[in-house]
Symmetry: C2
Subunit: 302 residues, 2 copies
């Protein structure tokens, strides 16, 4: 029941109203893999440069994260620099140095090809399809994308979406992809492109899921200290797919629990810079916060 | 178990991307009263002008809404004109003619003074206190306010809040009132001003409630057609307090059901202009949508 995770492993330099972190571990595949590894083994496919050393690798060691697919290339690791406004809802990209990530061509090691689940981080939709061409009948394919690909490669993205079970995007992306403002209409249009299930991430406003058996809404966990939102979406994806792949029976009930589990992991992610909080997190802490989500949302019938 | 409702009864002229409605029934007390009357009798205190006739009163007739407190004065009825942007999330006030509402002095008829619950619409906090001075030991006092009073009469508002059980405001108002951006911190600061329970309305993003027994989050009902958001907040308040006053035993479980009931009523309100949808609404339709809220939010333990 291992998951193949393909995306970026990066250095992030992040400035928030509460502090600054310089060249700390980031990237979609990093957040995803650590979150998912609480539930199932993860096969990581990404590329780093010569500046990515044992100190950074420590984040993945001692977990069920296989690193055979972590390619090392001459050059520097992808470096993203961003700055958050006071409300933490908007961020400005100060600088993007793609470096070795610019020509990333995911090669899937043989043992990874029978992975049970696949997570396609928000890379070029052409590369996403190349990943799918290298794997054998995964049970669940989860895909992320971003406004850049929606605008620049709409046809390639549509081709990829036909092969995807679950699409995870934010509300602005759902609107852009569908051309519909209303989120229910947007969801119907996006699902018509292929994904049976659409999970719309709304940041501090929670998550909406649209699937075969209707829709599901979960709030974000109300936190007193949100320190750095970087990676929350990818951490959500890791908790979501990790839980789902490990849950056995698929279906609506498991998808709902997976959304809450993704939200639970994401709520820890934002409590510190980088993966710092995820790296100290324990399974009992996860389960306790999941139960607090139940208390947060429960109401009785009339 | 009647509720006293004090606020505005008005004419609204509303423009949305989907159409325009000219001088239709509006005002906080109108939406509140019709919504609450599905659950308990309502004693309405408001003021209208000579231009408010039998056609408008029909909205209240045939319901358990007492009109003895609906004062009629020489002059024109309060008229608000607004225009919504394409996303329906922002609106511009085109014109406000306070007319007879400008010198509104709520006088509470003797039979209303023993009302079980009180709803203080977002009028001057000094007037809100004058209402409370005229009633005898209501079981629940629910109060609304707005940025205008938070900025212009902060001390008077604080004095009023000391006498309030439940404050219903939106997220921007909670932040402005507390001076805290983080919503959990804002809630703690607002509750320290008096209200045991704070209900924060977030429009399409649902509701957060903070109380003695922790917090509760409910989504907004995802609708395919949102036609006109005018009155949704007051309709929420009517469904919330109406349900709560009729529910018998107070406490956290009843408050949670009341939030969902308020959200249910509000989800109908936005389906048409003015009170149009509320006026055709039936109790079985309400109960059916409440059950759909349960389906929308339910997830199992792990």
């Amino acid at each position: 029941m291992a998951i193949l995770a393909v995306g970026s492993v990066a250095f992030d330099t992040v400035e928030t109203p509460f502090g600054r972190a310089e060249r700390v571990l980031g990237g979609s595949a990093s957040f995803f893999s650590v979150a998912a590894s609480f539930f199932v083994p993860v096969n990581l496919v990404a590329v780093v440069g010569g500046d990515f050393g044992e100190e950074q690798l420590r984040a993945f060691r001692g977990r069920t994260i296989d690193l055979e697919g972590l390619e090392r290339k001459d050059g520097a690791t992808f470096h993203w620099q961003g700055k958050y406004s006071y409300d933490l809802n908007s961020r400005e990209t100060v600088r993007t140095d793609l470096n070795v990530f610019e020509h990333f061509k995911p090669r899937i090691p043989a043992p990874y090809r029978t992975s049970d689940g696949v997570f396609l981080g928000n890379i070029d939709p052409v590369l996403q399809r190349e990943v799918l061409a290298q794997v054998e009948k995964p049970r669940i394919v989860v895909c992320d994308t971003m406004n850049f690909w929606i605008a620049r490669k709409p046809e390639e993205l549509r081709e990829t979406l036909r092969k995807v079970d679950i699409l995870l995007i934010n509300d602005a992306e759902a609107r852009e992809l569908s051309g519909e403002w209303n989120i229910v209409k947007a969801a119907r249009a996006v699902r018509a492109l292929g994904p049976q299930t659409l999970v719309i991430k709304k940041g501090e406003h929670g998550v909406l899921m649209f699937g075969e058996e209707g829709s599901f809404a979960a709030p974000a966990f109300p936190l007193e200290e949100v320190f750095d939102p970087t990676g929350a979406g990818d951490t959500f994806a890791g908790g979501f797919l990790g839980y789902l792949a490990g849950a056995g029976a698929p279906g609506d009930a498991a998808l709902r629990r997976a959304v809450v589990m993704g939200s639970t992991l994401a709520s820890f992610c934002v409590e510190a810079f980088s993966l710092d909080r995820l790296l100290t997190l324990t399974r009992p802490e996860i389960d306790e916060r999941y139960r607090r989500f139940q208390k947060l949302t429960h109401f009785e019938q009339i």
